[in-house]
Amino acid sequence: MTILERPRHVGPGVDRVDGPQKVTGAARYPNDFSHPDMAHAALVRATIAAGRVARLDTGAAESAPGVLAVLTHLNAPRLATGPSALLATPPPPLRDDRILYYGQYVAVVVADTPERASAAARRIEVGYEPAEPLLDIHDPRAERLPDPWGSDASWGDTRAALDDAHVVIEASYTTAENTNNPLGLFSTLAEWDGDTLTVHDSTQWPTRVRATLAQMFGVPEAGVRVLVLYVGGGFGAGLRVWPHVILTAMAARQTGRPVKLVMTRPEMFTGIGHRPATVQHIRIGATRDGRLTAIEHESRSTVAIEGDNIEPCATVSTAAYACPNVTAHDEQVRLNIPWTNSMRAPGEAQGNFVLESAIDELSHALGIDPLELRLRNYAEVHPRSGLPWSSKALRECYEVGAERFGWSRRVPEPGSMREGDWLVGYGMAGISYFWYQAPCQARATVRGDGTAYVRSAVTDIGTGTYTIMTQLAAELLGLEQDRVTFGLGDTSMPPGPQAGGSGLTAALGSAVHAACRNLVRAFLDAAAADPASPLAGCDLDDVAVTGGRVHRVGEPERGESYAGILAMRGLDELSADGDSTPRTPQEAGMAPAGPFGARFVEVRVDPELGRLSVARVVSAIDGGRILNEKLARSQIIGGTVGGIGMAMFEDTVSDPGTGRIANATLGDYLVPVNADIPDMDVSFVGGPDAFNPIGVKGVGEIGLVGMAAAIANAVFHATGKRIRSVPITIDRLLL
């Protein structure tokens, strides 16, 4: 069976299979589910960032109308700890009187209606014994964690190379805290029946939620079922099992009723993670003709007192350019802040801002065009391992992007381009995104009516998993797309990994590929039971699948339909499982490549008012094989909007004395609105990647990356001002 050589179903811009559900309001998100006898939970959060709960008065709440239970650290059941591996689960909530961050839960109230639950929650009085919180990333008293992920790298002799360089660029940069703010309020609905538990939850990782709940409540994992058919965005926020999920299950168990919790928007700022602030320092050495001789990149990011977070920023500088001397060092600083966590393109977003800004600074210092400078230092092989890339079309990204943008019209001198009263700036950035892929399983079934059902316990957070896996399965089984249903979001399906790290399409696609191949093999085995079958004696390599039939390659008439094979054997259906586990780079003899990209941005700056707007964005992306160009384009557009947010608007502001987030609403925390966003030009270049059988690379995060640097570089080109802190707000432009 040869596959994907001349694909019929993958590639073109197919509309989302779940589109009609979403535009009619029929798609059901976790908070759209309910039970007739359901109770409602409301949370009470700490109003100090460090110290202890000294006094709790819950009497007024307990006697308030409709209240069923009030849980605090004084009466909450003791739970086991959850998984500590990758993206650890926070410690059990309400386990003691310690307060480690402003917004930590100190109580949960359960009542018969949501109005009564939240009204009663406001009647709980908490007295504190405050301690002095650690809130500043520069606080020398804060614990530092060097090289927290083992990702630090050093090769050559960076110090000596910097001493010898013709030109050295040295600068410090900062990036603000950002908050994921998926539009869907995170929600959990938990229902116990003895030791079995059914949970609807806003998660990007249902199997992790199941494992965590089983572990923390001490019940068999097989009895826990997690459902999430649709989720209102996540951007990383749904990658952990947060305390509110645990509290909802706890409240349901304590009250003996199904309990639903819908987080409030302010709670979404403290309870489901955020992108940490960073301070970064970079030194780049180069020859006069623009050859990089040294890169030294150091980054510090924030992490909660008992938290973990994967945020390799300096690591970005180890994969981007050919350079003989590189040192990259990351560290974390523990503070009394809510948990930091993945937010779309963690580490890459901030690290790329620094590296690609510094490259722009170097191009200006050398008088070499920024695009030309990048091409002169193109990494033909993986810089750290020296292995060939599994695919890399970054050069084509630069060429196509520059052509479509009209980069050659750029007048190099800053402040030299104008349109009316507006200063015009052109800026660009390159991206070499990391690779990530986790093991995954899937199951494929073809039924007697010739329809197929393929499934895995993963999520579609809006990226289009339902659609592209339907296309892929249709391709691999030789069925029309309307004959294929893809199922997900239910832990009773084969386990799959998180929708994160731009890794799900490769992991799941490879598992679906394996399951579909195994299923066709099962049909061949079934057919072979009849020696007269035209498929007798055929192996996978001897056959093709089209029109609901398995037939000999090049001989469409010599085959049998799925339905025919099933009917002949008296079977209702045939199923097969498939799994995927990525090879190691050493096994494959190549460096697995993430996506690559080039961003070209035109900005306008009002020199008197400091107003900044983005006029045009051109993106050229190497995403390997694109399964659905329409949806992949949406991923790039959406990421770009997030990148504009990071570059120009988003800043979670905390009070430096108390640690209270001062702008924890969508009216105060600015995100891009429609009027902030120009039309965008997106091109996909390159071809199938060699590392996985379907040739894909994830495009869910790269769209955000590079925007901060491209915009900052364009601002420099427009104004001559180098802004080394994002977001680039009016005050920073006017100073």
């Binding site: 509309d15 989302r16 779940d18 589109g19 009609p20 559900q21 979403k22 535009v23 009619t24 309001g25 029929a26 798609a27 059901r28 998100y29 908070n31 759209d32 309910s34 209606t113 949501p114 109005e115 009204a119 703010n181 998926p182 539009l183 869907g184 309020l185 649709y230 989720v231 209102g232 965005g233 996540g234 951007f235 819908v262 409030t264 928007r265 809006g462 990226t463 289009g464 329409k630 949806l631 949406s634 991923q635 557009i637 959406g638 990421g639 770009t640 909007v641 997030g642 609403t665 969508l666 009216g667 995100v671 891009p672 609105v673 429609n674 009027a675 966003i677 120009p678 039309d679 965008m680």
Partner: protein, 156 residues
């Protein structure tokens, strides 16, 4: 008892709690969960519904204030299972990703046309800026509305 007229159907509701918003009444009491709660503070637009032909934020409207008003939600936009032209255009232009803001975007977009504010891309962008889309589908939302506006707007 309060009577809510939603999508042409009268619902008699025992509003035992004066704090119940129109949004919660629709979702929790009438089972019309297509209208979404994104902030409950009037800042995101996800809860946009039509009241007497105008777009309103149902999270900032008490259910008790809606007696005698004609409420249309996303569930009432199509006719006999046929998508409204705006719903069709949203699918065709991939004007959403996670889909959570989509009901509000579509209700807002249909009203935008009725308001006569979809004459240019700049107008569409400006007057759709009360509806946040965190997935960042804005260019596709503009394209969908532009197409429907150009075709005459469809029925409201």
């Amino acid at each position: 008892m309060t009577t809510l007229t939603v999508n042409g159907v009268d619902h008699r509701l025992d509003l035992d709690d004066a704090r119940v918003t129109l949004l919660d009444a629709l979702r929790d009491r009438l089972g019309l969960t297509g209208t979404k709660k994104g902030c409950d503070q009037g800042a995101c637009g996800a809860c946009t519904v039509m009241a007497d032909g105008k777009r309103i934020l149902s999270c900032l409207t008490l259910a008790a204030q809606c007696e005698g008003r004609e409420i249309i939600t996303i569930e009432g936009l199509g006719v006999d299972g046929v998508l409204h032209p705006m719903q069709e255009a949203f699918v065709r232009h991939d004007a959403f990703q996670c889909g959570y803001c989509t009901s509000g975007q579509i209700m807002s977009a249909v009203c935008l046309l009725a308001e006569g504010r979809a004459g240019s891309d700049a107008d569409i962008r400006e007057f759709m800026s009360g509806n946040l889309c965190r997935c960042g589908a804005y260019p596709n939302i503009v394209a969908a509305i532009r197409e429907v506006a150009g075709a005459g707007g469809g029925h409201a």
